[in-house]
């Protein structure tokens, strides 16, 4: 088990007004992503609980790309990871952001 934390400042707030969303499931090779709109509009944080140690730099890269592509200002994301591959993580983050934007 490893706990990781990343904090980014963003230039924009994520569009939409939805307060909260969950995507994915806690399962081997999968992950659960909880998204909450609870931070100032230019802040973004993510806390990760992962079953697999030693991939901190990959997580950092995945999160940095997500921030780059989506500008998720205002979001606090909590991830429960069951050893998902980075592509699954990126897909879940994109899906979560789209859900939060949807209303």
């Amino acid at each position: 088990m490893e706990k990781l934390n990343f904090r980014h400042s963003t230039t924009q707030a994520l569009p939409g007004t939805r307060r909260q969303a969950i995507v994915g499931v806690v399962a081997s090779g999968n992950l659960e992503v909880l998204l909450e709109r609870s931070l100032p509009p230019d802040e973004f944080t993510v806390e990760i609980d992962t079953a697999i140690d030693g991939f901190g730099d990959v997580w950092e890269a995945v999160v940095a790309d997500f921030v780059d592509r989506r500008q998720p200002g205002g979001l606090r994301i909590t991830i429960n990871d069951g050893g998902a591959r980075p592509d699954t993580v990126a897909l879940r983050l994109a899906q979560g952001a789209r859900l939060m934007e949807a209303m």
Partner: protein, 548 residues
Amino acid sequence: MTDWRQERTARDARIARAGPHADGKVVPAAKAVDLLEAILQPGDRVCLEGDNQKQADCLARALSACDPARVHDLHMVQSGIVLPEHLDVFEQGIARRLDYSYSGPQGARIAKMLYGGQIELGAVHTYLELFARYFIDLTPNVALIAGVSADRDGNLYTGPNTEDTPTVVEATAFKNGVVVAQVNAIVDKVPRVDIPGDRIDFVVEADRPFYVEPLFTRDPAAVTETQILMAMMAIKGIYAEYGIRRLNHGIGFGTAAIELLLPTYAERLGLKGRIATHWALNPHPSLIPAIESGWVKQIHCFGSEVGMDRYIRARPDVFFTGSDGSLRSNRAFCQTAGLYACDLFIGSTLQIDLQGHSSTVTTNRVAGFGGAPNMGSDPHGRRHPSDTWMKAGREAGGEGDPALRRGRKLVVQLVETFGDKLVPAFVEKLDALELARKLKLELAPVMIYADDVTHIVTEEGIANLLLCRTLDEREQAIRGVAGYTEVGRGRDKAMVERLRQRGIIRRPEDLGIEPLDADRSLLAAKSIKDLVHWSGGLYEPPAKFRNW
């Protein structure tokens, strides 16, 4: 005076030696070892039929039970190294030299034996290449083949899994060789004659039906959302873009996902009738929903697939079937069809390097090639145009008079950036090179060469290599879809962004693909049971795929 009939005389002697073990042409399974010991001579070239699907397993067991004092130093020339017996014969000294094509399930053991020098390797071939050599310099002295039934004259019914049999028999029977067929049953009259009896010398009634591997069955329940996303990109960014009607699919879950999205996602895009109508493909169960929805005009098959026989019999407008109603497959013809008559090959691989060379070899597994390189290559002998082929040719550009530019076959690699256990699919250097060095191979085992690959699709996007004009652009296009692998993270971000502006790299958002749609609800069938329902109960999945 020159004796022009030495081979024929030798053949007659083999037949005469075998005579006491046979009743006419028929030999009981219990006498199979005696039969082979009588026919075979040291140093013979022997084709023991077996590929990635059906196996002449009874004859394989018999061969491995031969006395190495009598039968030794054989040169095996065969499509597949699949059964343990295929390698046992090398350990026992029955066989010494090997020319083959595919070794999927025995990949680890064959690698060990090659390293250990227990096998003298000729070459690892593609299917068509090995078949071709059967007629030039690897003609078998003896062929050991498999069929469903035969009559007492040797007329052979191969059943739906005809596969390599006609090719193997053609090369052996017409060049003074001896052909032995194992069959599941001796019958008075075969349902149809796949091989005429005068090409079969002996028929062994096997102790059990020959083994067929259900290699082409992919359980929709195991298709992931990443694979669905990639399938959406392939359909929208490649199939629709180039109007691909004639195609071949590999056997991975990615292509199964494409098959399962045709009646849903592709239908929604209005692509029915415009893409994926004519196929060189085994009867993939995952294609049933598309067939039932009227997407598919026709399919020619390399072999059959376990459980698909009743379904195929009920769909003769789609499949090639015989007068008895069952499928007629033919690997050599279907490989040729895939090579010359298809505009697209799409399949997966284990490793891709920075130029786009790909390989399924790792340092401890030698999986061989099978047929993928035949389909996954640009045939320079092609002379008929199609819109797809011409468009790809224009994108590839080139020097000289545009009126003299040939088209291009689309060869697409559909790969997830990380494979099992987070092993990256993108590498700086293929393991195949290390293997070639250790085994002192002249030619590194490359599945698909970089200059044949036109597109790479990953969960991160599509790289169109046709549009790259320099090696540097090509490398960055590949890095630009290599995700979070080291190769992907080593990209020149500014250059990748420029390639994206030029449409060389396209992301899901560039294609108007919504990540929320990458959901299992988009699959036309979500389980094997769904496929059975789609088939109206005609598809009979093998036990290992049944969980109800």
